[in-house]
């Protein structure tokens, strides 16, 4: 199967292509040097061509997504589209059904998406959903931040066991990377409490969030995992939390990266860049966070942009969700994963005239516009916490057009003028920078830059063509066109197959699931397993034999090998 895309205006920042007219040749699902004369031709006719979008942080599958669906039947009733000959039915807006997850991402030109949090114990559920999400490649980050074994090994300062546990946890959950949510807080929430800073001691375990973060970063780099530690900071959702965020970022200096990437990715910074001491003097400190990122190269972040209207907050941060539900008088879903973590789900409605919401909207944009290097600030809405992923085109349009931002600011609560810097920021991103925030950067942060996020020879043939002619459009003025073009791609090619044409799904191949198989010395695993067996015997309500996700649950696996420690042959 050969394909050639001709006359496209290509943006591929990894290869230094910035709006040049080049042809792209595809054979057997990969991008190649050239193809024969028999190749099917797609004439891009000067339109914008980018690699398929890559999302490094979105909640698309698993236990808490499903809790959101159960809690919000009213959400399921919006966005309904009946089945067609090709597609199964679409439902929902903030918590779509599994099919709509794949279809809607594909329609926007996204071809790879990572679920941001799964507990090992709930991983089977995550994979059952991932299996049913059509078209896109995906993977899931596994939670390690409040797991009892993690905290035991951190207290004992036994890095070999911790690394062995992380490797085994990734295998058990068929996970891709190490996620750490409000470290220590998930355990404290079991007693109705929370940790309030990096140096709070978690009772019964005698460890601090700081020690957990640093140890997990070290284990991550010992194993040479493709992605770095993926951190949801402590104190999220509390005014004044930017200090905790920056203090957490500084911890990255204690660890050296094993690969050409960051050692810490701090996620959904819209919720972590808050100044003030209460909701009354709440203000943006996005400038401080962006400033830290500008001066340090070992940390990256993502926006978690807020979108007006309905959203469903869902996180493994149990205590913050209890606070939200109380504050908003909203429905509250609470979850406890024994020995591993907590979770919470709360619907929310973001309103332009509420000062806190207006400031949060500004924070996301400030982060993206004040961080100089787009490789350090990825585009996300922390779907569906800041808003559903279908709004990425809105975010792109806001970043590319100061005019659109100024029009929007006029409709917002006046606090956006006094307590954020967004009205004075004139920077407008170009197509190359957008390509980095949605493709090249996300792929680099995830450690998948060899096959994803670019259009060089050897990359996966995941390509999107948008109905914009970059040399004939002024995104600053024609922002509505930008938004509509990015909402509904002219062509999306996934693994060499055309899956979307003129915004309509034309084929629904199954995507692959990425997971990491990290090797560690046999004796480290054996030592570590003695503790795990004891945990199962004494505390878990399930048997160890039933714990692992079997290969039957991951039928289109893409296994990434890792493990820096030399492994003895046995």
């Amino acid at each position: 199967m050969e394909l050639i895309i001709k006359n496209g205006t290509v943006y591929d920042p990894v290869k230094g292509i910035n709006g040049d007219k080049t042809d792209i040749s595809i054979r057997d699902g990969k991008i190649v040097d050239k193809v024969s004369g028999k190749a099917t031709v797609i004439d891009a006719a000067g339109r914008l061509v980018m690699a398929g979008g890559v999302d490094a942080h979105s909640h698309i599958a698993g236990a808490k997504v499903n809790v959101g669906r159960i809690m919000r039947p009213e959400d399921t009733r919006s966005g309904i589209k009946p089945r067609t000959k090709i597609t199964r039915p679409f439902t929902g807006y903030t918590v779509p059904n599994v099919y709509a997850m794949g279809y809607r991402y594909a329609q926007m030109g996204y071809t790879t998406v990572f679920e941001a949090a799964q507990a090992i114990m709930k991983a089977r559920h995550t994979h059952e959903e991932l299996e049913e999400i059509p078209i896109i490649d995906k993977g899931a980050l596994t939670l390690f931040g409040s797991n009892w074994p993690t905290m035991d090994f951190v207290r004992e300062k036994d890095m070999d066991k911790l690394a062995a546990y992380v490797a085994w946890g990734l295998l058990a959950s068929r996970g891709f990377g190490v996620k750490c949510v409000n470290p220590g807080g998930g355990e404290m929430w079991g007693f109705g409490k929370n940790v309030n800073g990096l140096d709070d001691v978690v009772p019964n375990f005698d460890v601090t969030p700081k020690e957990i973060i640093v140890s997990l970063m070290k284990a991550n780099e010992m194993l040479g995992l493709p992605h770095s530690l993926h951190l949801h900071c402590n104190n999220l959702g509390k005014p004044g939390n930017y200090k905790t965020t920056i203090a957490s970022m500084e911890l990255a200096n204690q660890v050296k990266a094993s690969k050409d990437r960051q050692v810490m990715h701090v996620t959904h910074l819209t919720f972590n860049s808050w100044g003030g001491t209460n909701w009354g003097d709440f203000e943006s400190k996005a400038d401080e966070v962006a400033n830290y990122l500008n001066n340090n190269d070992n940390v990256t972040g993502d926006m978690g942009q807020l979108i007006w209207g309905s959203a469903t907050t869902m996180t493994a941060d149990g205590p913050v969700q209890y606070a939200n539900a109380k504050l908003l008088h909203a429905k509250w879903g609470n979850g406890d994963v024994e020995l591993e973590d907590a979770s919470g789900v709360v619907p929310i409605y973001y309103v332009k005239q509420i000062s806190v919401h207006a400031i949060m909207w500004a924070i996301g944009l400030e982060l993206a516009l004040l961080t100089k290097d787009p490789y350090k600030m990825l585009l996300t809405t922390d779907h569906p916490n800041g808003g559903p992923f279908v709004n990425y085109p809105e975010v792109i349009a806001l970043l590319m057009s100061n005019k659109k931002r100024q029009e929007e600011i006029k409709t917002l609560h006046e606090a956006v003028h006094a307590r954020t810097k967004i009205p004075e920021i004139e920077r407008e991103l170009d197509f190359g920078e957008i390509a980095i925030m949605t493709r090249a950067g996300t792929a680099k942060v995830l450690g998948l830059l060899d096959t994803k996020g670019h259009l060089g020879v050897g990359a996966d043939a995941d390509i999107s063509i948008y109905d914009i002619k970059p040399d004939q459009i002024d995104p600053s003025v024609e922002h509505a066109k930008i938004k509509s073009a990015f909402s509904s791609a002219a062509y999306v090619i996934k693994g060499g197959q055309v899956v979307v044409k003129d915004g309509q799904i034309t084929a629904t191949p199954p995507g692959r699931t990425y997971w990491v198989d990290a090797s560690v010395p046999r004796q480290h695993t054996n030592e570590m397993m003695k503790d795990i067996v004891k945990k199962f015997k004494n505390y878990y309500s399930m048997q160890l034999a039933n714990y692992m996700v079997q290969d039957e649950y991951v039928t289109h696996a893409q296994v990434v090998k890792a493990g820096a420690i030399p492994v003895e042959v046995n």
């Binding site: 809690m71 919000r72 039947p73 009213e74 959400d75 399921t76 009733r77 008088h329 909203a330 429905k331 619907p347």
Partner: protein
């Protein structure tokens, strides 16, 4: 002025979804056009013309359109859904979801209505001369706001959960209601002329007035004393105290 008369062609045994029957959608249309409009019988797609005989006199915009429905519509759902103006008169019984999400106009039912009548309605008036089912003027599953505006009057009785999650508007029930009217209310007013039981749990705002007897009070209301409302002395309660609610409950 346009008058549209709709009669069932034969007895309807399998439930029909007929959300196209509203003045907004039928105004200005001819008999043929209306006959070819979509309706569902169970899981089968059909047309209004297959199910009903339709007569049209005159042609006018929705505000000057009157739909008269003659006969038994006890298995016809979603009549008057989302209507914004005009007149809908039903001389018979109707099924669930009558006038849901309506924002204007007037619906009068001479018979009984099933559950969810006037759910999430925003405006207009709904008059039910017979009895109403469950969840009159409530929010459908998961909604945080039920009725937000407009007025519902029931001359007969209503079943449980009248005005659940109500955020505004007014419901008047001349007869009795089932348990828990005004559950989880966040605004609006419910007047019950007859008897009820356990009114107003989980209220945060809104008003409930009961003129008949209350079989059982929820223990989450605080007695504030007596208050005179238009010459009648009521016991005034506030609650739900557990959720720090500011709802008002008046009982004789």
């Amino acid at each position: 002025m346009q008058t549209i008369t709709i009669k069932p062609k034969k007895e309807i045994k399998i439930s029909v979804e007929a959300e196209n029957i509203t003045p907004d959608k039928l105004a200005g249309k001819t008999e043929q056009e209306i006959q070819s409009m979509e309706a569902w019988v169970g899981n089968q797609k059909t047309t209004l013309g297959e199910l009903f005989s339709i007569r049209v006199e005159g042609s006018a915009p929705a505000a000057e359109t009157k739909i008269v429905m003659e006969g038994d519509f006890a298995r016809v759902k979603r009549i008057g859904e989302g209507m914004t103006s005009g007149l809908l008169i039903i001389n018979g019984n109707v099924d669930m979801h009558l006038g849901n999400k309506m924002s204007g106009g007037n619906i009068t039912v001479k018979g009984n209505v099933d559950s969810w009548a006037g759910r999430e309605m925003k405006g207009g008036e709904l008059i039910i001369e017979g009895n109403a089912g469950y969840y009159l003027g409530a929010g459908y599953r998961g909604e945080s706001c039920g009725m937000r505006g407009g007025k519902i009057t029931v001359l007969g009785n209503a079943l449980d959960f009248v005005g659940e999650h109500m955020c505004g508007g007014e419901i008047i029930v001349k007869g009795n209601t089932g348990i828990l009217p005004g559950l989880s209310n966040n605004g609006g007013k419910i007047v019950i002329e007859g008897n009820t039981s356990r009114p107003g749990s989980e209220m945060s705002k809104g008003t409930i007035i009961v003129n008949g007897t209350v079989d059982e009070m929820m223990p989450v209301f605080k007695l504030e004393g007596n208050e005179d409302l238009g010459g009648v002395l009521y016991k005034k309660y506030t609650g739900d105290v557990i959720s720090n609610g500011k709802g008002l409950l008046y009982v004789r």
